[in-house]
């Protein structure tokens, strides 16, 4: 669907925790301007996949290629400067710093390009009125949005979003979906992990469906929900944690 060559390629990625293979050969690719949904039951390895791509853990097998170069095992701070960033499933802001200081750190250390306009960034995410409050005083949905603001302050080319929609009300959900689409429209590549299928439907161009550490479906959400294997994994018989 996208004529652009992929920006991020994940091939046969393996991550073990002890004897357990949380990732067992995941493969997918992501192009600039594209929003790829990553869905799957609880414990299927979606967050682990983001963790490995973003440098939190080195891979135990397989390859992650970004802009044509292998990046497996490179530390998070170096990847951030090269344009890979993410949000966290349970938000992880700098709790004792103010909202503005949170994004200032990221803009200062994680952005290799020109300094971004942080006031505009905070305003676009409806965080401007909270700018001087300590992040610890924000509610969970606000903290997730702050994670997103911090990621965007680094000027990423690849953005990995882990369950950003949970905790947002319907109006906020709609605005968040529009924002992610706008980012893709400006050329960013997005990987969106989400359980809310309405949100996935609204923001993604295509989806990859994972189970037990590996992908088994790739295509549009509309075809995914008609796929017998996808139905089986989501509705019955799938290993849940």
């Amino acid at each position: 669907m996208s004529p652009e060559p992929p920006l991020l390629v994940v091939e046969g990625l393996v991550k073990r925790f002890g004897g357990f293979r949380a990732l067992d050969g995941v493969t997918f690719h992501l192009a600039p301007g594209e929003v790829l949904g990553l869905v799957g039951p609880n414990g299927s390895g979606k967050t682990t996949c983001i963790n490995v791509i973003s440098g939190l853990y080195p891979p135990d097998g397989g390859r992650v290629t970004y802009q044509g170069r292998a990046i497996g095992g490179i530390a998070s701070h170096a990847l951030a400067r090269r344009g890979i960033n993410r949000t966290f499933q349970s938000p992880k802001p700098f709790l004792s710093l103010s909202v503005r200081e949170n994004v200032t750190v990221a803009a200062t250390y994680g952005n290799a390009g020109p300094a971004p306009d942080l006031d505009a960034l905070l305003a676009s995410l409806e965080l401007d009125t909270l700018a001087d409050r300590p992040a610890g005083e924000l509610n969970s949905a606000q903290q997730k949005t702050l994670d997103l603001a911090r990621a965007l302050a680094t000027g990423p080319r690849v953005l990995l979003v882990d369950e950003l929609a949970a905790g947002l009300n319907p109006a906020e959900l709609g605005r968040m979906a529009d924002r992610l689409r706008a980012l893709a429209g400006a050329g960013m590549a997005l990987l969106v992990v989400e359980h809310l299928m309405g949100f996935i439907d609204k923001v993604t161009d295509r989806v990859v469906v994972m189970n037990a550490g590996r992908e088994f479906f790739e295509g549009t959400l509309a075809t995914a929900i008609k796929d017998p294997e996808v139905i089986r994994v989501f509705l019955g018989g799938a290993p849940h944690d």
Binding site: A80, R86, P93, V105, T108
Partner: protein
């Protein structure tokens, strides 16, 4: 960033420095004033590592002892002039800090205890009678050749000014913000582009350097001392209590902690130690229960910025 708030941040340490520079002219107990200066600097040094990275080294005195012996060895064996020996003291603490860098992989209580064990190990080496030719072992050193109480007092003020400046810089710089980010959440800090290892290493080395310079100035000022004084765990405990009592990560907190608690100690601790221990204990228990982030949190939790 925040240029407008730099004035109070500089005025406060300047006032303290002026007061302690005048002190010896109006108050005869110079050793007590020197001890104040020493603890003011040590508390800020500990503040650099604890307040800005969250690591609390119980063995902080190890750097102080290393500084004292670095000074003494340079004077005894190299006949170095005092200011050169002072640099040797700082360098000795830095070398120890580099050797102990792997401790930063530990966290919480494990780090605290391991740093204590490390300080104890250095003490054992220094006080070993077999090394009498080098360190004078347990018999202590005498540096009467360089004894200069006034000059060393003033140099102590210089070390204190250096410690104050470091903390003012951390309080007002992007680097200090990055350190606090690491302290709050190292994973997120990495994702924000901050090199966690580099940040912690710099804070650790600066903190050790301050303690080493203080230890060297102490060695110079009193000029006769024993391993038990240079590696006295009480130094760690005092510095830690002062920082926690006043409130870490600020310039004001550790400063208030020293002025109040060390003031109380000097007022009643030496004459009526039994009351002192009671009051000290009550103060600390009360603080831990009601103000776990120190005195300054009375203001900071109300959104008031203190230097």
């Amino acid at each position: 960033m925040r240029k407008r708030t730099l004035l109070p941040d500089l005025a406060l340490p300047a006032l303290v420095l002026i007061a302690f520079a005048i002190g010896p002219y109006v108050y005869s107990n110079e050793l007590m004033l020197f001890n104040f200066v020493m603890f003011l600097a040590l508390a800020q040094g500990l503040n650099i590592v604890y307040g800005f990275t969250g690591y609390l080294p119980f063995g902080y005195v190890g750097f102080y002892g290393a500084g004292a012996y670095g000074f003494a060895l340079a004077v005894m064996h190299l006949h170095a002039p005092p200011l050169v020996a002072l640099a040797a003291g700082g360098a000795a603490a830095l070398v120890l800090a580099v050797v102990l860098l792997p401790l930063l992989r530990l966290s919480g209580a494990y780090f605290a205890i391991a740093s204590l064990a490390a300080a104890q190990a250095v003490y054992e080496v220094v006080s070993n009678p077999a090394l009498e030719n080098v360190t004078k072992g347990p018999y202590g050193v005498s540096l009467s050749a360089v004894f200069a109480p006034r000059f060393s007092y003033d140099v102590g003020l210089g070390v204190l000014a250096f410690a104050f400046l470091l903390v003012v810089w951390l309080r007002n710089s992007r680097f200090g913000l990055a350190l606090q980010a690491i302290r709050d959440d190292p994973v997120s800090a990495g994702m924000a582009g901050v090199s966690v290892v580099r940040g912690r290493t710099i804070a650790w080395l600066l903190s050790a350097l301050v303690a080493g310079l203080v230890g060297a100035t102490f060695a110079w000022h009193i000029s006769v001392f024993y391993p038990d004084t240079a590696f006295d765990l009480g130094v760690s405990i005092f510095a830690t209590v002062f920082v926690l009592f006043g409130g870490a990560t600020t310039l004001t907190g550790p400063l208030l902690g020293v002025l109040i608690l060390y003031g109380v100690y000097n007022a009643i601790g030496i004459t009526v130690p039994q009351y002192f221990q009671f009051i000290y204990g009550a103060l600390i228990v009360g603080l831990v229960l009601f103000l776990p982030n120190g005195l300054v949190s009375l203001l900071t939790t109300r959104g008031i910025r203190v230097p």
